[in-house]
Every structure is written in structure tokens, then in C-alpha cells.
Symmetry: C2
Subunit: 277 residues, 2 copies
């Protein structure tokens, strides 16, 4: 990469992988700040160091992502994927979002943008987060340790938190077994938050009403994977915030952070290298 020898900051517009970033950083000893364009940093975690300031795009894509969550949630509740796939034009019993109990894992931007979209549906919302702070617009706040106790009264479980060793397989067979049979799971975070095999078994056995996965483990899912063939599962190809919807939000974030860096102000989306997000 040309010109990096003298650079003090690096905006790294690479969605494909960490290898080229590692090479670029090796040739850029003066870079004190790296702005990433993804919300999650799990793919570059091994590159994060205390010698630099790292900012991710966390929160930047919240508005399109929250829209995707509502879209897939309403779609699976109203059986739209099955209507789209089938030529039979046969009604299938639908459920409604109105008055449901929604548990959202994570208190980041997606959750903040999702709560106002759920408000007109009169959902009872519980946000599961690390800190004991209230979340504006949420009816309740809980911690990860409370999740098994929350599960039996959760109609909709939305996964929208960072992937860390602590949250790997946070939705496992044990948690799925605690959800009611009418429950729906939506994952827009990282595939490894959900145990794919356990989810497929729960759906196939009717222990769960439906699922929508924008991220999967593995990703992409092999064509023969049961989650690709189950009627009540919608798999989308990591499009909760596709580039054409992300672009204006990314430009806004970079513009803001460059201005803040020049002014010596705190940067938005700073990664806590120790916490890993």
C-alpha cells in the first residue's frame, strides 16, 4: 500500500479479511488510529493491540440492521417465506408481533434502533446486557446469567451482541429447550452465537416455531444443511446491512471520526481491546 509509511491514521475499507490489514499495518509504523468499517471485530481480533486506537463501525449500521430484524421477524411470524416458496396458495396459521415478549441480547446500536420499531406493537421488551444500566425504551434490563430464567417467557429472541468467548453459542441446545414452543429466534450478529445443529434439531422437532438467520455457523451454510431446508427457517446472506444501505452511514461515521480526531475529541466506536469489542 503506497503512502502508508507516513500515515498517522488508517481507514481500512476492506470487508474481505484481515490478511491485507496485517500487511498494511506492518508497513505503517506511524499509524496510531485504525478505523474499521465492520461493526464486529472478531475477524481481526488477533491484530488488535494496545499500541493503537481502534475504532469499529459499531452502531453505525444500526438503522438498516434494525429494519432487517423487524422485516425478518414479521416475515417468519406471518409465514411469508413459506408463501414465497410454495405455489399452493394455502393459508398457514400465523402469529402476530403485537403484545409479544421480546428479549434482545445486546444493548448496542441495533437494539437502540429496534426498540422504537417495536413500540407500536406493544411488545414487552427485555434487553440483556453486561452493565446494570437502564436502556431507553426497554421495559426491563437483565444480564446474560438471567437468560435461562427469562427464556420460558420469551416469544422472540433477537441476537444483536458482539461475539466474544463469553457469548459464543449463547443460544445453545439448553437455552433453546427453555424457550416456549411458539418462540422465534433472529440472529443478526455472528453465526457462532447460535449452535446451528441444536437450532436445526429444535426446529425440526417443533420445539421452536421459527428462526431467521442472517449470519450462520458455518457461513455460508452448505446447501444440504438442515437449516437451509426447514420450512420455518429463513436464511439470508448477511444482508442486514448490505453495502448499498451501509454506504451513507459509513461515510457519516468516517467524516465524524476524522473531524473528532483533528479536534482531539473522543472517537466514536472505540474498541475495548481487553473486552474484544
Amino acid at each position: 500500500v503506497v503512502g502508508l509509511q507516513d500515515a498517522q491514521a488508517l481507514v481500512w475499507p476492506d470487508w474481505t479479511g484481515p490478511e491485507r490489514l496485517a500487511v498494511a499495518l506492518a508497513g505503517a509504523p506511524g499509524v496510531r488510529w485504525v478505523q474499521l468499517v465492520t461493526s464486529g471485530v472478531d475477524a481481526v481480533r488477533h491484530l488488535l493491540d494496545d499500541g493503537r486506537t481502534w475504532t469499529s463501525a459499531k452502531g453505525a449500521y444500526a438503522v438498516p440492521m434494525a429494519e432487517h430484524v423487524l422485516a425478518v421477524l414479521l416475515a417468519v411470524l406471518r409465514r411469508l417465506p413459506e408463501h414465497a416458496r410454495s405455489a399452493d396458495l394455502v393459508p398457514r396459521p400465523a402469529t402476530t408481533l403485537h403484545g409479544t415478549r421480546v428479549t434482545v441480547l445486546g444493548a448496542g446500536g441495533v437494539t437502540a434502533a429496534l426498540l422504537p420499531l417495536l413500540a407500536p406493537f406493544g411488545c414487552h421488551t427485555t434487553v440483556v446486557r453486561r452493565r446494570r444500566e437502564d436502556v431507553p425504551g426497554a421495559d426491563a434490563v437483565a444480564r446474560l446469567a438471567d437468560l435461562p430464567a427469562l427464556a420460558p417467557t420469551t416469544d422472540v429472541l433477537v441476537v444483536a451482541l458482539a461475539l466474544t468467548p463469553e457469548t459464543h453459542h449463547v443460544v445453545d441446545g439448553r437455552l433453546l429447550a427453555l424457550l416456549p414452543r411458539n418462540a422465534h429466534v433472529v440472529n443478526v450478529a455472528r453465526g457462532a452465537h447460535v449452535d446451528s445443529e441444536a437450532l436445526a434439531r429444535a426446529l425440526a422437532a417443533g420445539h421452536l416455531a421459527g428462526a431467521s438467520l442472517d449470519v450462520t455457523d458455518p457461513e455460508p451454510l452448505p446447501a444440504a444443511h438442515p437449516l437451509r431446508t426447514l420450512d420455518r427457517c429463513l436464511v439470508t446472506p448477511h444482508v442486514a446491512c448490505p453495502p448499498e444501505l451501509a454506504r451513507p452511514y459509513l461515510l457519516e461515521r468516517v467524516r465524524t471520526n476524522v473531524a473528532r480526531a483533528r479536534a482531539g475529541a473522543d472517537l466514536i466506536g472505540r474498541v475495548d481491546v481487553r473486552l474484544g469489542y
Copy 2:
């Protein structure tokens, strides 16, 4: 039907057709009030008479129907039907509901229930209605005659009005040609509001970005109809308010109207026999 000879009121729980209602009324000379369970009365219009009070379920199913409108709208904008149908896991350029200009035909219950669901998306909403009254929550109100002028700035056209001779084919080839190429059409009213052939031609030619039809003309659509095979069209089998979601709202409406009838109060959903809805 037993016991109708002495009945003064009739709640007619028949979703299938008008023939049995005609027979029942012939044997029920004392019935002064007929409560229908459908929102539209186009199927029984020939039975409507000035000698009786007719009430439809208009407005009763507004909440589930508005939810369906938002569900299919977000689904087609985010290309979910295509993701559901396809095994390729290839992203398709999506659009957002945020900031769009939404024109809703009809100022009934569905529209009243839809506007709060659109509010968090910052849509600019125009409601097309017969009267010149404001609609709470709408940014603008217009009349049917204004529709050609509104079309070029309409991103989303929602059809949610009664079917009358005046609104038959209100969405015809001429109107479709005036919509921008990014426009989406949603019909949850009656199939005959939309010229199916003109819609299929517009979609196939790329003059329209997408459509979602819960009602069609003819209904059901033949398997070979182009609207059944076009990627950007989602056809659902008249499930905007399926029986399992309608039931509590219907019971509530009947209970309310029986109580009102006993008290001599105005009934809800009274049909204007002259206007035909």
C-alpha cells in the same frame, strides 16, 4: 336455519359466499339488523337493502391487516421472498422503508393502524380518501382525482380501500406508468382494485420495483399467471387477517354492537347502502 322466524338481528358468520345468507334472510322477515363478519361487502352487495340496518366488520381487523402490510412491504423492499425461494445465498440490492413517500388509498381502519407502524421510519405519508378531512398521523390528504399527480413521487402505494365501481382498477396501466421505477405496490383490499395484467407487464418490464398482493384478480391466481412467477412479486393467499388472528377482534366487534343495539346506540361499521361500503 332454525329459529330465524322470530329473530330481530342476525350475525352471519359465513365467509364462504352470499347464497346461504340470501336463503336465511328470505326466512327471517323480522330481522332488522344484519352483522356481517367481513370488512368488504362487495360479495353481498346485491342483498343490501334499505329495509334493514347492515353492519360489516370494517375496521375490526385493522390491526392484523396493518401488520401484514408492514410485513410484506419490508419483505419485498429487503428482497426476502427471493432469498426464501433461492438457494444461492447471493445478496440482492435492497432498499429501505426509511424516508420513503408512502401513498395509502383509503382512510379506514387499516390506514389508521398502519400510520403508527410507519411513523418510526420517517415516511412521508399521503392518504387518498373521499372526504377532505385530515387523517390523524398522515402528512397529507388527497382525493382519488389527485392520484395521477401524486404517482411520480410515490415510492410505496398501499391499496386499502373499499371496492366500488369507482375504485375498480384504480391501479391500472396508466397509473402504474406514472409511478417511479423504484416503486412498490401493496394490495390488501380486493383483487379488482388492481389491473393484474398491467401490473405483471410493469413488473416484467422493470417499470416497477416490486409488488405484494394478498388479494388478486382472479383469486386464486392460476399457477401459470405471470404474477406467480415474477421474482419481485409476492402473492399471499388472502391472509392479511387470517381467522386465527381475526377471532378476538370479531368477538369484540359483535359484543360491542350487540350491547349498542340493546342500548339503542349507533352501531359500529354501519354500511352505507348507497355508497356500497
